[in-house]
């Protein structure tokens, strides 16, 4: 029997219970894992987003800056709602809403109208333009378009409008972060370099970090040192704004004049070597002072490295308060090490985070057993391997480059671990494997306030140890037989 379209008409079928059972256990098997890892084209549950998301994040880190998406309207809504959900904060950004005719005529008309409207309504001090797929595929020339916008009077002559090409079919959100940061710094510092002038300040680049607590932690550390600083870019106020009865489109961000003067800084430190290589490379060639790339300071060793570098760069002793803090963090670790020792973890995330997770776990005597990177280079893999090789707890641990969370699921089911460190997207795999998931990464859509708890620095160590160990103890309390349910743990 066939329908009007020539398609066969078949009966509605129900799943046979035995077939469901068969597939249900098959997807947990080694056989399935092999098939799953043989995938060439299909990506399932990826742990990375696209470039413009990172571009929008960094734009929010500058004072009075309106992120401006050159592309389809829907793109902007996706980036905005993702940031809204993670931070539970507003994420104002506009789009020039390109449609089909853009494919024919290009996006200049939309861009010009959009810049003019956005400037009139939202009165930004800077508009940071970045692209989604459509203008990238049709080859829009942003340089010419923005020049023309000024010539035609759509935007004031002196309004900074940095722009970045952030194609979604290349790299991930961290690459968009880098490109937009570079464009912003190039725009703001243009003509600002003064030979012989030194602001005496540190430029700190946190990298593509979605934890506002981390930014506040950096500020606290630098204040303790008495080091004047400019954070490039500071999202801590933007995405952790007070609820006081008023709404500010631009709730925070690094002052534009400070960013402009950053080129005359005493030193620049990036803590996101994998998230900001382009920006940092350009800074090395153009900024005054010293330039240092350090790993994101997760764990004691990496935090030590940051503090020692700061001490050296600014000729100041590590403050006693921070030294005491280190002692407290180590105290927290030694007190709690028995709850994490030799426990196996699966970890996934952006390269800078991953280095930190691995390093921290090894410090605790825990095992970063499956290390999965959604998008990363040979260099990332090499550095991860070096971390594992340097510790007895890294023995037998494996790195999986350019794999997704459906691969992770196979790993968890066939070669189990005690816990997963990642973000909300790992919750399905973790639930299937019946292990806890620690949401240290981005995004966190299903827990409150985690972005306010720093993971970097010594305080971050305490936060991670507390979250992990207490969860293990909770599990024991919730699952143990009555006779083993006891007062102390």
């Amino acid at each position: 029997m066939a329908n009007a379209l020539g398609l066969d008409i078949k009966p509605v079928t129900e799943y046979l219970p035995e077939e469901v059972e068969r597939v249900k256990s098959w997807i947990n098997s080694d056989d399935y894992k092999e098939k799953n890892f043989a995938r060439q084209a299909l990506v399932i549950n990826p742990a990375h987003a696209c470039q413009p998301l990172g571009a929008q994040l960094v734009a929010h880190g500058f004072e009075g800056t309106l992120p401006f998406v050159h592309g389809s309207q829907g793109c902007a809504s996706y980036y905005r709602s993702t940031l809204n959900r993670h931070f539970r904060e507003p994420a104002p950004a506009v789009s020039d809403a390109m449609t089909e005719d853009g494919a024919v005529f290009g996006g200049q008309a939309n861009l010009h109208e959009g810049l003019e409207n956005a400037h009139a309504l939202y009165k930004p001090k800077m508009m940071a333009v970045f692209t989604s797929c459509m203008p990238e595929v049709i080859g829009d020339d942003l340089t010419a378009f923005i020049k023309n916008a000024r010539l035609k009077g759509h935007i004031p002559e002196d309004l900074p409008v940095p722009y970045a090409n952030t194609p979604s079919f290349n790299g991930t959100h961290i690459h968009g972060y880098d490109s937009m940061l570079l464009a912003i710094l190039q725009t703001l510092t243009e003509g600002k370099k003064v030979e012989g002038r030194c602001t005496g300040k540190l430029n700190l680049i946190p990298g593509c970090d979605f934890n506002t607590g981390d930014y506040r932690e950096y500020q606290r550390i630098l204040t303790a040192f008495g080091i004047p600083h400019t954070i490039l870019a500071d999202i801590s106020e933007t995405f952790d704004a007070p609820c006081d009865g008023s709404y500010h489109v631009y709730a925070g961000g690094t002052k534009l004049e400070d960013a402009a003067d950053s080129i005359n800084g005493r030193a620049t430190v990036t803590l996101g070597p994998y998230a900001t290589p382009k920006s940092f490379g350009w800074i090395k060639d153009n900024y005054a002072g010293k330039h240092v790339a350090l790993p994101m300071p997760l764990g004691i060793t990496k935090t030590d490295a940051l503090l020692m570098t700061l001490s050296e760069l600014f000729g100041k002793e590590v403050p006693a308060a921070l030294k005491a803090e280190r002692g407290r963090a180590v105290d927290a670790m030694t007190d709690a090490q028995q709850y994490m020792h030799d426990r196996k973890f699966a970890v996934y995330g952006d390269p800078d985070y991953l280095m930190g997770y691995v390093s921290f776990l090894l410090e605790m005597g825990a095992r970063p057993y499956h290390v999965l990177c959604s998008r990363g280079t040979k260099k990332v893999e090499k550095e991860l391997q070096a971390l594992l090789d340097a510790s007895p707890y890294g023995k037998g641990c494996t790195i999986y480059m350019n794999k997704d969370l459906w691969h992770l699921r196979s790993l968890l089911m066939t070669d189990p671990v005690d816990a997963v460190i990642g973000d909300t997207h790992g919750k399905f795999a973790a639930r299937d494997a019946r292990v806890p998931l620690f949401r240290f990464g981005f995004p966190v859509f299903d827990r409150v306030n985690l972005h306010r708890y720093p993971l970097v620095g010594y305080q971050g160590v305490i936060n991670m140890v507390t979250a992990i160990c207490n969860k293990f103890i909770d599990i024991k309390d919730e699952t143990c037989e009555d006779r083993f349910f006891e007062m102390m743990r």
């Binding site: 084209a41 549950n45 709602s81 104002p92 789009s95």
Partner: protein
Amino acid sequence: MSEKIRKVDGITKESTQAMIDEALAAYPEKGRKKRAPHLAPNDQSSGKSCVKSNKKTVPGVMSARGCAYAGAKGVVWGPIRDMVHVSHGPVGCGWYSWGTRRNLMSGINGVTQFGMMFTSDFQEKDIVYGGDKKLKTLLEEAKGLFPLAKGISVLSECPVGLIGDDINSVAKQSAKELDLPIIPCNCEGFRGVSQSLGHHISNDTIRDYIIETREFSEPETPYDIALIGDYNIGGDVWSAKALLEEIGLNVKSVWTGDGEMEKIAATHKVKLNLIHCYRSMNYMCKVMEEKYGIPWLEFNFFGPTKIRESLRAIGARFDVTIQEKVEQVIAKYDPIMQAIIDEYRPRLDGKKVMLLVGGLRPRHTIGAYEDLGMECIGSGYEFAHTDDYDRTAPEMPEATVVYDDPSEYELEQFVDRLKPDLIGSGIKEKYVFQKMGIPFRQMHSWDYSGPYHGYQGFSVFARDVDMAVNSPTWKLVQSPY
């Protein structure tokens, strides 16, 4: 629909128009001209739209709209639980829309239910050389890894249409080779002006590839119906379906919340299509009416007043058996609903709400607020058409502001002037207004609560609205010093 002209104290056509003019004053002239026809005071008695709609988004104004892909993936195709839905193109679109709509699903994830994220994760080389080959390979891989999937939808993202890939021929060939329905959906985000075209394109693909390819194996009955345009947000379908079954109807398929591909494919055999979200699925109701003679009826399951009206209207399409059951059900739930109203109305009476949602709730939920004693003083849609606004006019009080695809700036201005006690809108608006100290509920996702449909839903809705409006936290917003 009430004939009575409802008025709100202090709101007149003039005051509303003045508020609109003031908001528009900030725009450059071209932008102002474009936006002006989309904002107007309601003319309740006209039954006609007072605004222009379904036009291009004005660039740069901060619209809340999504795109055609969002309408296809998030709304129509995504909720079908037993299919693999491939976001074809770069990684972002699928990632952003992964699990963010709350269309709940039964089944076993990865076995009989595929509420996960599938993408071809386009790279530069796919843009240069085309993605058809990759698509063909990934379809094979999906079939191999998910043998119980009943079909695969291929949802195009922007680049696919721009580089001239032919997903339709790949789908056709692979469907034959894999012996599996594979539905190509050309829903690139740059098409049309909003999610709405994505709904339409998806409806067309259901018409072209799905409908009439299956038949129910059990015998037909006069009470066979389909539930159309309910996406099971927070479990809405489960509440609505249970209620329809309670009045004696057989819900043979659901479009598409917790949906099953084969049952959707056999929907041409039902006797009546009941449609909740008119905007996103009226197209297929009309197709099924023309092609198979299946009548369709709009209904509203928000709040006891509208539920009662809707149940009776549904009953009127059937024989006395159903009508009697309808009355029994109403009689059963009326006192339960009254108890809920008695509990919450004293705390909500006279409170004012403003809405900005998608294509149905800005009018459908008004009755539920009114059941709780509240008044709707402003409403609008992201992606509605004239026929939606026609249907909205009688539901809104006279002269209240109607806004189509408002910018965040306009909405802020209106809220600042009207000082509502509650705003019902989306995640992008939520924290803007909460910073201002204004209670807010997400009305796309039910703010991680639900269901809100049916009698079961009203108790949750009433609790949530009360919780939002009367939370003691709002009293702490202003510091005492």
